[in-house]
Symmetry: D2
Subunit: 446 residues, 4 copies
């Protein structure tokens, strides 16, 4: 079944990510909830709220059990959340007094939200790993091409010569920022939820110090951050989704750049893999680049949808809560798939230095206009220099000669034109800036 | 696997709709594409473009075949669309000269878009059926309660007494509008896509009249509307999604109304089914009403996302096209699930007339303020009447007496207060308006 | 002041549309509400609900009055809607018994929603006018270039040769569909709102036939469609916004196509106007094309936001209603600005036929691959033909020879290669399809 | 003019915030850009890139000048950004060699983006101030009502008794989190943009160390964070918008809670200000609460729209950049207005303790069901305790007796029922949790 292509078999090579999906399946959801119940019992026993023996039985009978989602379908339909059915089943399994000690003083949302955070923690760990690899590979690409001349394009127009390395360095800097941000998030942004029925833990204990200890210990055991209940304060989820969307904006930008660079007329990038057409043998469709753009846009939209679920009325807002379930997992899955596709795309990306150079040459030096203006400004006022360059630029269009030659014919200012041309076209400034960005990357991921 | 709860087993009683899903599965997608290929061959044979014998072989070998999505995974990954791999497989199956006649002059998008339209046609048919039933049931509810007094609430405040029937009649009128709109859509809004590689059908034939005939016949055979290619003009998909979102806005409104009406303090609606809590035995959670609100919001967001995919560059825009796949099926599935849940909710909805009446009574006639003003205006200027009613209303708050009694103590205007009170509280105007709306419903679905 | 660039002076040449804005100003909003109040009084007098004399005074004193929004600020803040303050002011102006007859039995939402519909009617009329002109100009462009060869690009890759006329014809067909849709909307989709306090018109009259007449007459007088109240059934607004978004998707597509076609490397379009850079004299930024894309995306997002306001709880849902005010006018304004910018862009669009031809030539016939396959299929099985063309295509990449020459060296099949080449490159099929689309345009706008 | 109600005069008491607007006006935009140009010249002079004298002239002639947006309309229309026109005008004003030294080596985006960051810094400072005040006021409210009993509502149903203080404490904790986050953002998240034409600062200097110093000094002088160019890496803007949306989600939650609490049937909150109706004198519309919900939803949608602009192709992506202008200022303005309205709402919020108590009493102890179960579990197995409570709860519905009395009639377990009842109803646990949340607030804002 596949209403979302993220869940499809047919489209799994485009939009799929089985590893991320394994944390978002019905099975994984139930498993994480069981972990939370076991953890809660263990900590409650440690602090004398339930019997140590009961907690041991809970742990022994429930650890690693396999549950079939179908068995919880009816109870989930009835309660609107799988927890009551799950708890009933777990009580049945652990039996006796252990059954009574399970889920002690907790509410469904405690288990569901904390279980979600556990799964997000694993997903974020996975993304860190992937980002790390991607940052490494793109850094190498940027380093290799730090001085490979390529025309910068601003607003779709050729601007000045830079280097392909500079382009790649902006990709990797933005990914490195997100890698660092994910690490911070994993440390500080994944919260335990423990509030009981209405957020005051009234049924668990009257001893507020004890409650603080249970909260702190459970958070510590689960690797989450301790927190007072956030049942209606959902900014932590929004923050996670924002990071995911920021990642896919950068993979989406890589995709967008590759879509342009692989155009037939441009050909500055070649791809190891590209899609054939059902009828045109010459076509090389940049399929994965399209996927990256499409997934980035999907994430942006889902970020807005998730944000809209952040208005939770009263002590628990069912419709808003459900809205999170309908969007956040898709954001995570789209991010995971984007990281996989970006890695595949980068692995097969072949920068075509000769085509990049040819594009610069084809401009007859028009892209050196800014550099020429600045060189002339050491010999005349800015306005005069710009007027002169503009005049020369207009001549280029009709004459087909090189801009610097046209300028030379208009002025005898003592500019070392050959050095200028060489320096600009050898992309010195871009190479410097590439280094700068790579230094920033190194600091970010240190 | 279940990244989207719409695809989940565990949540299928909340967000699932297996019948709609059956049109959105990988298998259904492949099946519909096969239908289009068979239909194309048949029509092309009819007009002599391919051999009749070949078309027969195509039909005999391919009709009703079962295909396994896994077999097309790799080819879909490579091409970015399942069609090339599917066509290769179909050629292998039909063999010989039939293979050459398959997919003659068509392109992947022709098959994919037309296949999508076929599936949408079935989905729309299904929704018409469900809407029809829902319109019937809510109409009956509205008719039954046309004069069951209930307080209208505007901006969350009790306004004037109307009837529960009027509320239900607004639900059903809006659903009936959408039923009618779906019927029109099914007739006029589902288009054949046939453009060939670049939209001019150049490879199919040079005979433009023949091409028109093939297009018209194929559309006719498939039950779609004939059209010049719309490869980059995606408004037809936006129009379909808008209708789906309009449906879920109404089911969402029903859900929102039920969420309020089932609140503990209000209790004007009771539900046959409602969800228990994992820890509070007295809770009756209006789960399905929450689902309706959550799905309506999801559809609204996806409508925006789908609209954003409507900017298709050049002759075929891969990233935008993929964006449709990532959103439109979810809109359809959420609409289907909403119709099922709405039907279940309505079937179990118990209007509590006594509670509705009690709420009106508890207002001590304050809700009759508007009616009293208008009655007094037959005896004094409007401003005087309103001032008098306002003064009386203020007294009600401290005295706890009925508004009409307070007014009577302030004026001897010859208003028949008992008749007024009876007429307003018996919801005559609301009953009339209920009839009016039901008449509109009858016209809409005629 | 300018929080939205749509309201800005500085950016008015990019995002502004003073004519549409004139219908969306505070002043226009108040004016339209006054028109509704006058119309209501006139119709109520016609049917004896209020005195004819009073209605005349209302009309005489209120027609065309100028109101200062500042005077209604405080009352709007207090009531959350400008109507109560406006009605108070209008009563003050008309005075005496006319004051009492104003706003008789109506509620704020009747006046606000109907006033909005009046303004939307004018805006739609304006858009029809602009679309008509745009359809004419692009039709002429398509006709002129019906056979001007241009490479089709699918998924960013050169596909087959078509014509620029075909591209333009898809633009105009989609605009013509929307022009027709706007006309239908103006006829059938703009509704009177008349429900009174809670939707049953209880305070206006007890005579249901009279109420129907008032409703029908008022709708007729205002040029709107008669309808039972739709206070909570907001699909009519969603339908209008969908049409606006469909328009901007097409102007956005024009913008996206121009952004690519004006790229330095492509240059198939030149623009009469384009933006300079603050530092690069050679730049020609396709500013208006960017604007069209940006506005289309804005509209898509606002369409989703508007759809999300469509869930109206109970009899009047203040927060959802406000959500419409915050989005719908921006959708209208962005659409108006898009139509202006599209007209300006089209007026200055210079298709560069020589560059288009050169791009086709530069492909060494690779774009004829599909046509060659089909030609060969008359002499050999499809698979053989395709294998042969694929082999030849691979040779082209290394040899730099023309594809048809490579094929000729591999087979002696009796294909008239020169005729094929000529027919494909002369864009016969594309010219035919252009005609086809222009015929559809003619029918749509007839 | 007012296409967006955020820009309207008429609606300024609802959606307006003149102080935030003053940073988002055309005038403020130009002014901030002038500041950046002056700052750049000053720093460049400090490092010998331009003459000290020239920088002084720049500063003397340009500091604090008033510019009329109308004068830059045409140039903005042409260039698609106001900077070229602005720089031309500034050069005209400063004259002579100072003119040549202005904007030296910079590009339009440097000035526009840095100017935006300057204005966002001021806006964030303003929001910190407002949040601080709001946090103080709500903290006081929470402290005052830490033990004022109120029924918790989960999924719209009465759950267990908590306190109004606990509700208010969740509001203030979420606001305090955002206050802290804003402070961090102001320190670390507002970046200088300095990249020159294509992001490598090639025209400014060839000396990379000098460039680093200029960047660092300019950032320092402007109070921004130093950074390599982020022309296409727009996550910093997304992060700001996310914080703004998180703020409005909390003010929106306050609004949603007030909308429910002020319902006629509930009346647990009264408002100092509320809106009258044009026809119903008894109505007290919670207008500002509606505004808070509507603005939160608007921000969520605009967050998604802004995120979608984060895919910037190549070195500068005009359409995506414009998309930021069309959304981010609205997010800021909606946030500012929300903070004002929230402050006004909180100032006028009157918790009605008697109504809160009455709602608890009306439940006949059903809300004590969870507490009773846990008390019984000290005397019998959980399942037995729950069955007993469930049986008692069912009796309550028919008998109208108190739950604890019903339980007592079913068991002689030695529970101190009076103590239990008193402890639960006196909201001890909720008071403890309120303290806990307020401690967290104190830490967050320390």
């Amino acid at each position: 079944m596949a209403i979302s292509p993220l869940d499809s078999t047919l489209y799994s090579g485009l939009f799929g990510d089985s590893e991320t999906a394994s944390h978002l399946s019905d099975e994984a959801e139930l498993k994480a909830m069981v972990e939370v119940e076991i953890g809660l019992a263990r900590v409650q026993a440690r602090h004398g709220l339930i019997a140590t023996e009961a907690a041991k039985v809970v742990e022994n009978t429930l650890s690693g059990i396999e549950l079939d989602p179908k068995d919880f379908l009816l109870a989930t339909t009835s309660a609107g959340v799988p927890v009551p059915g799950l708890v009933a089943k777990l009580r049945e399994i652990s039996g006796g007094s252990a059954a009574d000690s399970l889920h002690f003083g907790a509410t469904s949302q405690d288990i569901a939200d904390t279980g979600l955070m556990l799964r997000l923690k694993r997903i974020i760990g996975l993304f860190e790993h992937r980002l790390n690899s991607l940052v490494g590979d793109i850094s190498a690409l940027a380093r290799e091409h730090r001085a490979t001349p390529m025309a910068a394009r601003t607003r779709g127009q050729m601007a000045t010569p830079v280097s392909f390395g500079l382009r790649a360095a902006t990709w990797v800097r933005d990914l490195a920022r997100e890698l660092r941000a994910l690490r911070k998030l994993a440390e500080n942004g994944l919260f335990l939820q423990l509030g009981g029925a209405s957020g005051d833990l009234a049924a668990m204990s009257k001893d507020r110090d004890l409650l603080r200890k249970i909260e702190a210990d459970l958070a510590g055991d689960l690797g989450l951050r301790s927190s007072a209940p956030w049942m209606t304060g959902r900014a932590p989820l929004l923050d996670i989704a924002t990071r995911f969307a920021a990642i896919t904006n950068t993979t989406g930008k890589i995709g967008a750049d590759v879509l342009i660079g692989t155009r037939s007329e441009i050909g500055e990038f070649d791809l190891a893999e590209s899609g054939g057409s059902s009828t045109m043998p010459q076509k090389k469709n940049p399929v994965k680049a399209e996927v990256l753009v499409a997934l980035a846009r999907l994430n942006a939209s889902h970020l807005g949808a998730l944000a809209a679920t952040g208005i939770h009325a009263e002590e628990r807002d069912g419709a808003s809560w459900m809205g999170e379930w309908l969007t956040l997992p898709q954001v995570a899955a789209a991010t995971g798939a984007s990281l996989l596709r970006a890695q595949e795309l980068i692995s097969g990306l072949r920068p075509e230095a000769a085509r990049m150079k040819a594009a610069i040459d084809a401009s007859n030096g028009l892209m050196l206009a800014e550099a020429a203006s600045f060189a002339l400004m050491e010999h005349m006022p800015r306005s005069e220099a710009q007027a002169l360059v503009k005049k020369a630029a207009n001549s280029v269009r009709s004459s087909g000669k090189h801009l610097l030659d046209e300028i030379r014919s208009l002025t005898d200012a003592k500019v070392d034109w050959d050095a200028l041309r060489k320096s600009v076209e050898s992309a010195d400034a871009a190479a410097d800036m590439t280094d700068r960005l790579l230094e920033e990357v190194a600091e970010l991921i240190a």
